[in-house]
Symmetry: C2
DNA sequence: CGACACGTTGAGTGCCTTCAAAGCTCGTGG
DNA sequence: CCACGAGCTTTGAAGGCACTCAACGTGTCG
């Protein structure tokens, strides 16, 4: 795994979607955090735990899970390289964070972050901006669950991944999470997600070389599916 | 909201509704804002407009709407007396705010709020806390849309209103918004909302004296519907 | 009182889910 | 190296929940 140091010359490995802000915080904070690793499916922190740390993902993917008492599960979002998690809570975490793949992250003590926030206005601004960004993402997600069909939701999801990965037509897209994770994120069943992906494949909108990669054959057609579910 | 989580877990005076916090900010800010009024269905601000003001609702109800290009509509939340709206955006509003009923509110210039935020740590803390609260509410709402049945969603919604209004068994609950608004908030159709309410009425869980009031006959039974949708 | 908006109820359909089984992939051990 | 098995994914068939379309009721305001 090449550690993606944000310091690369120009083209910041921007993380637009679902996304918290950009890189600047990281470069500043890298020095005051400690690197840690999590294995696949390992829990990073749990809903209800005292919120003592925030994390910045260096590599791998994390899912933010809300588990219902009766076993149903909802995924509020995914965090990929460059994203931060654990900022959104005060006393205790309100979600569980689990490693989707092996994950490398930097851990920051909340107390430290809070002090930094007090002292430095630009840090404050950045963290608040991340919070706002999260809220916008949640609202978009709500619209998706509230009034999109299965096909539209899956298309939206792929477009989101494509934007995040800066991938366009013909390029392979990394899909680190499993089908069940996608289903729980989109409020669908795993079978519906599979069937929808198969449909898109049969319509030559996408190709599926293997379970963790998807090639987008036509971004335009994907977008037209989201804009208005028209074609059969 | 699903409530459920907010309610049963700990005793924190959690803000049940889509809710921003309560009064503290208002009392401080009342002096620097100007009172304004909006008629039923009037737009307070629109998605895409430059975000120049925030508002605190004094009386009435506001809905936060996201309108899709094809006419579909989603309601991200409601704001009632004591709530604040318009804090969550930086440059432009990302949602449209409309008066559900006649509304009286206090308008605050964003520029002023931002300056205050710079200068006074306690204001900053309060505003950030509201942002976090909004995010938690959005996450609860996501769970609702993502994995609850129609009956569970409606029950959750009623419980949310009941908590907000500090209403319990046997008391009449104000329901300022229309059925269509409820439907768009819950990701259902108006017919499904009606039918579900009628079911609850037939099961004597609630009574419906008139379209804008609902009496909760048994909070316990409502809660048991949310906890696990068992009975048909 | 009449008109209009909103709400409620009914019948039928369709999308997604549920239940079931087969295919794939990858790690493990013989 | 290949067989085996577990976990995940895909496909198929049947059913149900919520949606659509349509008509009827109810409240509210001129």
């Amino acid at each position: 795994m090449h550690i993606q140091t944000a310091v690369r010359s120009r083209s910041a490995p921007t993380i637009p979607l679902a996304g918290l802000g950009r890189e600047p915080v990281g470069t500043t904070l890298q020095s005051i955090g400690s690197v840690c690793r999590f294995g696949r499916n390992q829990t990073i922190f749990s809903d209800g735990d005292e919120a003592t740390s925030s994390y910045k993902v260096i590599s791998g993917a994390v899912r933010l899970v809300k588990l219902m008492p009766d076993g149903r599960r909802h995924i509020a979002g995914f965090r990929l390289a460059g994203d931060i998690l654990g900022l959104e809570w005060t006393r205790e975490y309100a979600l569980t964070a689990e490693a989707v793949t092996d994950v490398t992250a930097v851990r920051y003590a909340r107390a430290l972050l809070e002090r930094l926030e007090e002292e430095r206005a630009e840090i404050r601004t950045q963290l608040t901006e991340r919070l706002r960004s999260d809220l916008r993402a949640a609202h978009d997600h709500l619209v998706s669950l509230g009034c999109q069909s299965a096909k539209e939701r899956v298309a939206s999801f792929l477009l989101m991944l494509a934007h995040r990965g800066e991938v366009t037509d013909g390029e392979a897209l990394d899909v680190p999470m499993g089908r069940q994770d996608i289903a729980d994120y989109l409020g669908l069943t795993i079978e519906t997600v599979c069937r929808t992906l198969s449909d898109l494949k049969d319509s030559s909108v996408i190709a599926i070389p293997n379970r963790h990669q998807i090639v987008i054959e036509s971004i335009d057609r994907l977008e037209s599916i989201v804009d208005a579910d028209s074609d059969p």
